[in-house]
Symmetry: C2
Subunit: 847 residues, 2 copies
């Protein structure tokens, strides 16, 4: 390890040596989140990418416009050039506009097309160049355009070519350089907003003017190569990612072009794009042959005739020769686009027929309720939406994943890309390799990070498995065995099920806690509808289950709710109210009266669990520290859990913390144990551990005890460990997570405190718990009508889906969950929408 730091120190030194080496600046995509991505599926929209600069993206775009508009009437072709440098000398949209016009005049005089070229915004310098007058500074809202009517001029069945430059800069340099130089930077969010309005607006007007059956196509031409920087400095392939539009890749037909084209293709795939076709110029090198072989024939490779290089050549002849290729390309694009929509509809229907979803009463789910998720980018889903009231209104819309996909999610868009590259790398380097008695780098690094992080100060070994349930099964096996050993039940005799020493072991657990759905994990849970005879007839409930004291924010006050059994022992009513959430966690409470009450209550309960011979028969304590998730997002009094842990430790009863839900910043600290200020003997982690891309679990233990005969084939699989290594580091590094405070120990308040207080005051709301990435809201139940409350929750969530927020209820509890790196601004926006809907419900209630 010291070597690694030696290198790093060396690099650090050496970077200072030779001149033009610039230090790393972390790219933040936080701005993505504030853009609601949305675009219509009523017509093909494609992005044209290239393997390098100057490979003919603009020629391809122009060729497509000619192919799409010529010979048919009533169509519209939109060409967008979002980023143009070297303007106005260079203008790709003007080029398309002019070449199209020339071609139509020459070869298609019978058509009738209105063609226009627009420049929406430009740097002041570029604007000045265009308009010949001083335009101030920064970005100028130009709104400049020119247009003409081509062909016969007949008004009926007229087609339209609209070319638009969205942003232009004067110098012919890379966008990130020129934007800086001309003092006309543009942030990604603003850029995407503009692009979105261009995509949406044009389709709406067109459908409005020309009717629903009119045909339209849109092409967006990127600048430079696939990974060329955008004006903000982010890579273009990252910038456009939230839209994830289907792609055309203009390849390189020159020497070296095979490699360049394949690499560019891989860069696009690595960002989740679907490439529909590759087009390249013929340089007589037959580059298309190895490309087709690489693509295994799954994607067509089209070859354009050599492009004349003389400046005097007007290209009319070339466009004419290329028409066949462009016709095919255009047809592929249209067919593929239509196929995509049909596939979206098909999948929704088919899913209903062949999936058996967990926790789902299939008869109650109509096909229309099935959500088709096209992709995710950071915290947001892109979802297929069908507006049934208007024909042909398929679209892709965005929904904030407020249930963090069953509490697994953590990545923002930047981390997602990093993880994508890492998953590709890990698959290629390892795939999966056998674990017992072996070691591989990701597993070791992951174990080290776990022991230095969530296991710090107590854990010494890591046992890997696949998910929360298996991590718990392992923890229980470890704990019960440790108990047997510590209490003298374990002998060295290998075959020894010594009858005298047999003991019927139970666990101590809290009512409402959840630890997984495999039988062993279920046994540690109190009976509930989930454990019923008809779900798992083998379930017994091998636990002594306590009702825990709970805390929550009610009507702007943090209150403690004591279970009936110990209520009579509470002397001081003031102990039941807190001035702040922080007070609840204070260690000073350890010496309060209520601590004594807890302590004697627990001792009493433990005393009730002696086996006939007088042995204690509680083999382990298992708790979800601080918040019981699936049980309804209940916050348990941390003091109670701390005392439970202490009392069990005192009696040598192993303590298991189930941090599957609470671990890795879910509650605002890396582990919930830190919030509790006490340590377990065994703890389980999963979900957020991999940043939310693949299943992986770890059971940490303070000490190993002999061979544990439990294993899963993918134990410590390289992809999971690699993802965990990246995510664990990412979340706790202030360079990548700007939400860290308190020297990196805690997250900022993610949920606006004022807003949370206001929510707790609403008549429709019973209680609120906001902690870390979680904000849970329990809706008020009238009388004992929990079913009705649950219905209310469903209605509420249905409305919120319309607002772009995807939530799932837990009975009458609704909750929002973000990632450890999500911007609090985004949380506020989301929470405001929830607040507004809750206000509506409250008003309805009052009425």
């Amino acid at each position: 390890m010291s070597r690694a730091s030696a290198i790093s120190a060396y690099l650090h030194r050496s970077r200072r040596g030779f001149s033009p080496i610039v230090y790393f600046r972390h790219r933040r995509h936080a701005s993505f989140f504030s853009t609601d991505v949305e675009y219509p599926l009523t017509h093909p929209i494609y992005t044209v990418w290239a393997a390098n600069t100057s490979l003919g993206k603009t020629l391809v775009s122009a060729g497509l416009s000619i192919s799409f508009l010529s010979g048919v009437s009533g169509r519209k072709f939109i060409y967008l050039k979002p980023v143009q440098t070297g303007f106005p000398q260079d203008s790709d949209s003007r080029f398309v506009y002019r070449k199209f016009s020339e071609f139509v005049s020459l070869h298609r005089p019978e058509s009738s097309v209105e063609a226009s070229d627009h420049v929406l915004r430009a740097s002041a310098l570029a604007s000045q160049e265009l308009l010949g007058k001083n335009c101030g500074g920064g970005i100028v809202n130009l709104g400049w355009h020119e247009k003409k009517l081509l062909g016969s001029g007949q008004k009926s069945g007229i087609s339209e070519l609209v070319c638009k430059t969205l942003y232009a800069w004067k110098e012919a340099l890379s966008p990130h350089v020129v934007a800086e130089k001309e003092g006309a930077r543009i942030e990604d969010a603003e850029f995407l907003e503009k692009l979105k309005s261009c995509l949406g607006a044009s389709s709406e007007t067109f459908v409005h003017e020309c009717g629903e059956n009119a045909e339209m196509m849109c092409v967006i031409e990127t600048a430079g190569g696939v990974a060329s920087p955008s004006p903000s400095g982010s890579l273009q392939c990252d910038l456009y990612r939230p839209f994830r539009l289907p792609a055309i890749l203009v390849g390189d037909g020159k020497l070296g072009g095979i490699s360049a084209t394949i690499s560019a293709y891989e860069t696009l795939k690595l960002r989740g794009y679907d490439v529909v076709a590759v087009v390249l110029e013929d340089h007589s090198l037959l580059n298309e042959a190895p490309l087709l072989s690489y693509l295994q024939g799954r994607i067509p490779v089209l070859v354009l005739p050599p492009i004349p290089q003389e400046i005097s050549n007007d290209l009319m002849e070339w466009f004419y020769q290329s028409q066949d290729v462009f016709d095919r390309l255009q047809k592929i694009m249209c067919l593929s686009s239509r196929a995509r929509i049909e596939q979206l509809h098909y999948m929704t229907k088919k899913a209903h027929e062949i999936f058996w979803w967990p926790f789902t009463q299939h008869k109650l789910i109509s096909k229309d309720h099935v959500m088709m998720i096209d992709s995710r980018c950071g915290e947001n889903f892109a979802v297929h939406s069908v507006n049934n009231s208007i024909k042909n209104t398929d679209s892709i819309i965005q929904r904030f994943d407020a249930c963090a996909s069953w509490w697994t999610q953590g990545p923002d868009a930047s981390l997602q890309i990093e993880l994508a590259r890492d998953m590709g790398y890990a698959t290629s380097r390892y795939g999966h390799v056998m674990f017992p008695e072996n070691v591989h780098e990701p597993a070791l690094k992951c174990a080290e990070l776990l022991l230095e992080g969530v296991g710090k100060g107590w854990a010494s070994r890591v046992y890997f498995s696949d998910n929360g349930s298996t991590a718990i099964e392992i923890a229980l096996k470890m704990a019960l065995r440790k108990f047997l050993f510590d209490h003298g039940f374990l002998f060295e005799s290998p075959n020894g099920n010594d009858v005298d020493k047999y003991i019927n072991l139970k666990v101590l657990a809290l009512r409402g806690s959840y630890h997984g759905d495999t039988l062993g994990a279920m046994e540690a849970q109190a009976p509930s509808p989930y454990t019923g005879f008809y779900q798992q007839p083998w379930y017994k409930g091998r636990g002594h289950f306590l009702d825990p004291p709970k805390v929550s924010l009610c009507q702007d006050v943090w209150k403690l709710f004591i279970p009936k059994k110990i209520q009579p022992n509470i002397a001081n009513e003031e102990d039941l109210i807190f001035s702040s959430r922080d007070e609840i966690f204070q260690k000073e409470r350890d010496v309060s009266g209520i601590a004594d009450v807890y302590s004697s209550y627990i001792s009493q309960e433990l005393l009730e669990n002696l086996d006939p011979r007088g042995y204690i028969s509680i083999g382990a304590l298992i708790i979800e520290p601080v918040i019981q998730g699936a049980g309804g997002m209940e916050m348990i009094d941390p003091l109670f859990q701390r005392i439970l842990t202490r009392e069990c430790h005192r009696r040598k009863i192993p303590v298991i913390f189930d941090e599957v839900f609470t671990g890795f910043w879910r509650l605002g600290a890396e582990s919930a144990a830190e919030l509790l200020s006490c340590q377990p003997d065994i703890a389980c982690f999963a979900k957020l551990m991999t940043g939310g891309v693949v299943p992986l679990a770890a059971t940490l233990a303070s000490k190993e005890l002999k061979a544990l005969l439990h294993g899963h084939s993918y134990t410590a699989h390289a992809l999971g460990c690699t993802a965990a290594v990246k995510s664990i580091k990412w979340f706790k590094d202030c360079k990548t997570n700007s939400n860290l405070t308190h020297g990196g120990r805690l997250l900022k308040e993610m949920w606006d405190e004022n807003l949370v207080r206001h929510i707790s005051l609403l008549p429709a709301v019973d209680r609120v718990v906001a902690l870390g990435t979680l904000c849970a809201i329990e809706l008020r139940v009238e009388g004992s009508n929990a079913g009705y409350a649950s219905l209310c929750a469903s209605n509420l969530l249905h409305k919120l889906r319309g607002d772009g927020i995807y939530m799932r209820p837990l009975g009458n509890v609704v909750y929002l969950m973000c990632g450890p790196c999500t911007s609090p601004d985004v949380c506020r926006t989301v929470l405001e929408k929830v607040f507004r809907r809750l206000e509506e419900v409250s008003q309805a209630k009052i009425v």
Copy 2:
């Protein structure tokens, strides 16, 4: 779906249109397998890659040679140019040799260096050009070289520069074109073999001549860009992958170069390479700034002064100016290489301290036995090896993964790369998205493929989970519930644990079967050391366990072994012997005498399981079809399992096939149910389903029954489903899997039948089962000394590790497992080694 085929049809048609489009030819990397990759870690060995052609790879190599050798004595620098086209006009190794010589003569006359340039092999045309005489055809073994002594000429402390061209062709075109054109193709395996010998040989001679402390560096310069085709047509980045040498990337400093460099970097990462530094020429565009930002400062980006373009320039001035950069680059390479070795040692030691391995008695494992897996490529591990007898002999060696990493592995090297790209894509497109009531493309496609494949003819719904154990827990819940429903125990009453209707349900299972390590899965297994009180005190064994009849090849005869309980009923001894393995599976046996014996035995056993009220209390049958894996690779008489299934169906007892191990071609058919010729109600799949990269499981059911309250957070995760879609298709497509026969229904015999027969005849061998990808061998136990046999197995496997085969024993059973696409030639090579070792053991026995 019809749209998709419409497109495909269209593409097909249109491809025939425009001329130079070549059809897909599947790249086979099968040749990789026959190369035993191995290289020393005694000195840095690097591959130099570039983002495109003509970016200065050779200049960088020459600069490194100067930096490494000048000013110090007794060092050796090896420059390898494996692929040279345009030879002898162009020769990069001659260039390095000459520029180095010029530089030393000019600037370091005080040094003493022997420099040489070698050309090992060349096409006949290129050879003719070099030697001026007709050289025949094909590839010529040239062995040409020139050398000189530079500097002071002192013999003591002399340094050495060795430049080698491995293969050369005459025309200056892409290697795949020129190799074809000059009739001098070279296959990947041969190429890698040559490269390996160059890497190994040079280090051995050097250490031999100059002692162990002498320093050496080796640089391999690739041709063209990272993904440029190799002489065989495979991509270079794929060709060199088995070595996975650390990489230097020569980036592009020109306009568009940021994108090209990032894409090339991603192509390398996507193949599991570690890039140690990026170097690029300064074109005053500051390309290094966005590159560093992209790389987040983790990898240094070094900038070389502009390269003079005039042909007359001898570059001496440039090399002089660049020395600082090359010194830093060289130092980074040396430090990083040393750090890698230290890290390898560190990890082995640390793993022993902090991992808790499954099924491992830690006290029995010495640190020296821990295997450090550096990577996997197809079926092979690359492993860190230390030869303790000689100092400084760390190396990377190859081991065939004969236990298929706990039976999960299927990919050959080609599929692994495909999966890597897919995993990157799926992470970027989805990460993970919530499943219940939702749909995403990979989950739907995966479910469709399962229902059309392993579930064909009986399954209608797919329930996803994470691993074999959870798939079994789900299957048991489904089955027991179906039983309760079918037998009238299930009421609509939601709270109804109706006491009258309570029944203590068991499963019917076979002794020695294994279904997983979670409690529910354990309960379906017969008691064994794995289920002991000290492993899981809650285990009861909720099954009625039958001893099954077994078959195996003993002394060249397939024999049936009948359990004691039914032995007396066997009338005909001839029923116990088969003429071939195929006969065992024949449906004709259904009407044999033994079928009746089975049938009445099973009926009898079922009758023993009535509850006091007369209800049958067997709620499900669960079996591993055909082979019981973890129980010792026992082949169960398929007739017995078929009749079991029939008898249970007859009584409405749901039948579960646990195909976690047997599914997806493991036994030579897509599902083992096909071999059994009968169908279950429920079946579980995992392991090979994803091709062996990430955990994913599926429980298929013939019919769904209400909501199942069982779920895991990563249910139907996109990475797993994507991998499954690719792998399921890959294995059953004869374009990608050349092992398919019988119209794609079965795999070829993977294990040479003759060899298998010979093994069964060895005195040390008790029985053999070779079926599909599995070849299991049970060692003979003398008397009842199973412990001794187990020790024999360990010794045997230890020796086989030395032979490059990684196996793990199951008691006294040793086994080999390949992938569904592994070449039978590879299987033969491996099996031959095993045969030879077994012969040794047998001879020792006889003595």
